[in-house]
Amino acid sequence: MTALPPSAELPSAELSIETRGLSKRFGRQMAVDGVDLAVPRGSVFGFLGPNGSGKTTTIRIMLGLAAASSGSVRVLGEEMPRQLRTVLPRVGALVEGPAFYPFLSGAANLLRFDAADPEAPAGTRRARVRTALERVGLAHAADKKVRAYSLGMKQRLGIANALLAPRELLVLDEPTNGLDPQGTREVRHLVRSLAADGATVFVSSHLLAEVEQICTHAAIMSAGRLVAQGPLAELRQAGQSRVRLLTPDAGAAARVMAGLGLTPDGGGISNGGSAGTWGEVLYAPLPAGSAAGAPSPEELVAALVAADVRVRGFAVEQGSLEDRFVELTGEGFDVAQ
C-alpha cells in the first residue's frame, strides 16, 4: 500500500490526535491494525473508509471507551486513556450516532450528559444547554420528549451535546447522518465556524463529497489499516490523472492508445451511458509523472488525429479523492447527496 508518511512529521505538540501503532483485536480479527494517525491542531480532518474499516473502533479507543490491544494514543498532547479525566472535558464527541433517553426532553438529556462532566460548571449549565440547542436549531423542540424527535433532530441534538462546553477538539462520527440537504449544509457551516474558532474537528464520514467540501486534511482507512493521510490537496494529487476522449471512432482510438502503452477503459455503459450523438467516451489512466515511454497528452492527440480518429472532445482529468479512495481500498464509495 502507498501509505503516505504521517503528515510531514509534525512535532507532537502540533497534533491534536496522534496514534502510534494503534491496534485492536477482536478475537482473531484485527479491527484496527497498526494505525499511525496524525491530526494537526486546527485542522478539519476527514476520517474516511468503507463500513467496517475500523473508523469507529479507532474513535472509541481515542475516547477511552475501548482499550487498545497495542500501540499508544495521545489526544490534545496527553496520553489516553491515562489522562482521560483532564482530556475528555476538552473534547466534544458524537460517536456512532446519537443516543438519548427517549422519555426525557431534549434539554433534559443535555442537562444529564453535562452533569456527568465533573469539569462543567453547574451554574451555567442551563444557559449552556440553551445556547447549544440554539446553535443546532433545536431551541423550539427543547422541551419535547426525544421519543418524538425525528432522526435528523436526534442527530442535531447529538451535535448539540458535543458543543455543551468550549471544546479544543470535536470528534464527529458521521455528523450528517439522517439530515436533509438543508441540515447537511448547516452542519458544514457549523464545522467551518468551529474550525474558525480554533477547534480541531475530526469528522469521520462515508460521504466523500462532504469531506472534500469541508476538510483540510484526510485519512483513509481500509480493512483496519490506514492507507493514506495528509493534506487534502496532496491526497488528490497523489491520485492518478486520466484522459477523457470523445470520439465516434472508439475502436480505432483504442488501438492507437494501446499502441502508445495506455490501457483505455471501454466507453459506453460502464462509464455511464456516454454513447451519444457525438460518439463514445473513452478513458485512459495517464501514467504518473514522466514514466519512461509515456506519451504526453498532446502527443496522444497528435497520434489520434494522425490515425484519422475524429477527436470531438479531449480532456485531462485530475484524479478526484474518490478515484484515490477506490484505488487505495479497491472498494466503491457511497457518494450520495
Partner: protein, 271 residues
C-alpha cells in the same frame, strides 16, 4: 460536588421514568388489595392466609405488615431486579453509556452513582408498601394499641415506627440483591437479560434456603434472613437479626460490588 450532582441527575432519570412509578404503584396495590379484600369479607379465620391477615380488621396497621410479608419473596425482588439489572445494561442498551463515559463521568464514579440510585429505589419500594399499607389500613379499620410478640402493648404511634423499622429492615435486605443486579448489569448490553438473571438469583436462593439438604449453605444465602424481622416486634427491640442481616448484605455488597467494579472499569464499551 460533581458526584452528588451526578447522583441527583441519576435519581431524576430514575424517577422521571414511568416504569419506576408503575412498579411503585404495583407495590402500593398489594396492601390496598389486601385491606379491601379483608374489609369486604365477613371474617378472616385465624391461621389461614398470610401471617397477621386475621388481625387487620382489629388494627389497620397490620395491613402494612401483611403486605410486606407478601411482597418479600417475589414482588420486591422483581422490582429490584428491574432497577438494579437496568443500571449499566440499560445505559448500554440505549447507547447513552458511551456519552456518559465520554463526558467523562468516570467509570468508578458512574458505577457508584448507579448503585446508589438502585439503593434509593430499594429503600423507596418497601417504604411504599409500608406507608400505603398503614394509610389504607387506617382508612378502613380502627387503629389502636398493638400487642407485640413479647406480650407488651405499644401505642399506635410507636407501632407505626415499628412498621417503618420493618421497611428499613427490608431495604437493607435488598442491598445484596441490588449489588448482584449491578454486577449482572455490567455483563451485558441487554437490560432484560440482567434483570431476569437478578430475579433468578433471588428465586434460586430462596429455593435453596427451603431445602434441608443444603442446610450448610443457608447462613450464606442473601435471602436467608429476609423474613427475620420478628425481633423488631419485641419489647425491647432485639437488634441481633438486624445486625446479622446487615452483615450478610454487606458481604454480598463487598463481593458483587468488587466484581462489578473489576468488570466495568476494564470492559470495552462497544454499545
Amino acid at each position: 460536588m460533581p458526584g452528588l450532582r451526578l447522583l441527583g441527575s441519576e435519581l431524576g432519570v430514575l424517577f422521571r421514568r414511568r416504569r419506576t412509578w408503575a412498579m411503585l404503584l404495583a407495590l402500593a396495590a398489594i396492601p390496598v388489595l389486601i385491606a379491601v379484600a379483608v374489609r369486604l369479607s365477613s371474617a378472616v379465620p385465624p391461621g389461614r392466609g398470610p401471617a397477621f391477615l386475621d388481625r387487620i380488621s382489629q388494627n389497620g396497621l397490620f395491613a402494612g405488615v401483611t403486605a410486606m410479608l407478601v411482597a418479600v419473596p417475589l414482588f420486591l425482588p422483581l422490582t429490584i431486579g428491574v432497577v438494579a439489572g437496568d443500571t449499566v445494561a440499560g445505559e448500554a442498551g440505549l447507547g447513552t453509556l458511551r456519552y456518559l463515559l465520554a463526558a467523562p463521568a468516570g467509570r468508578g464514579r458512574l458505577l457508584v452513582v448507579k448503585f446508589a440510585g438502585a439503593v434509593v429505589f430499594a429503600v423507596a419500594a418497601p417504604f411504599t408498601v409500608a406507608l400505603v399499607g398503614a394509610g389504607i389500613g387506617a382508612a378502613l379499620f380502627p387503629v389502636g394499641p398493638v400487642t407485640l410478640l413479647s406480650g407488651d402493648s405499644i401505642g399506635a404511634a410507636e407501632a407505626l415506627a415499628r412498621l417503618l423499622l420493618i421497611a428499613a429492615y427490608l431495604a437493607v435486605s435488598l442491598v445484596g440483591l441490588s449489588a448482584i443486579g449491578l454486577f449482572m448489569s455490567t455483563l451485558t448490553d441487554v437490560p432484560v437479560g440482567a434483570m431476569a438473571a437478578t430475579v433468578v438469583f433471588a428465586v434460586v436462593s430462596q429455593v435453596a434456603d427451603a431445602l434441608p439438604q443444603l442446610e450448610w449453605l443457608h447462613p450464606w444465602l442473601f435471602t436467608h434472613r429476609w423474613l427475620d424481622f420478628a425481633d423488631l416486634l419485641r419489647q425491647p427491640i432485639v437488634w441481633d437479626s438486624f445486625a446479622a442481616n446487615a452483615l450478610l448484605q454487606g458481604g454480598y455488597l463487598a463481593v458483587f460490588g468488587a466484581l462489578a467494579y473489576a468488570r466495568f472499569t476494564t470492559k470495552d464499551v462497544l454499545s
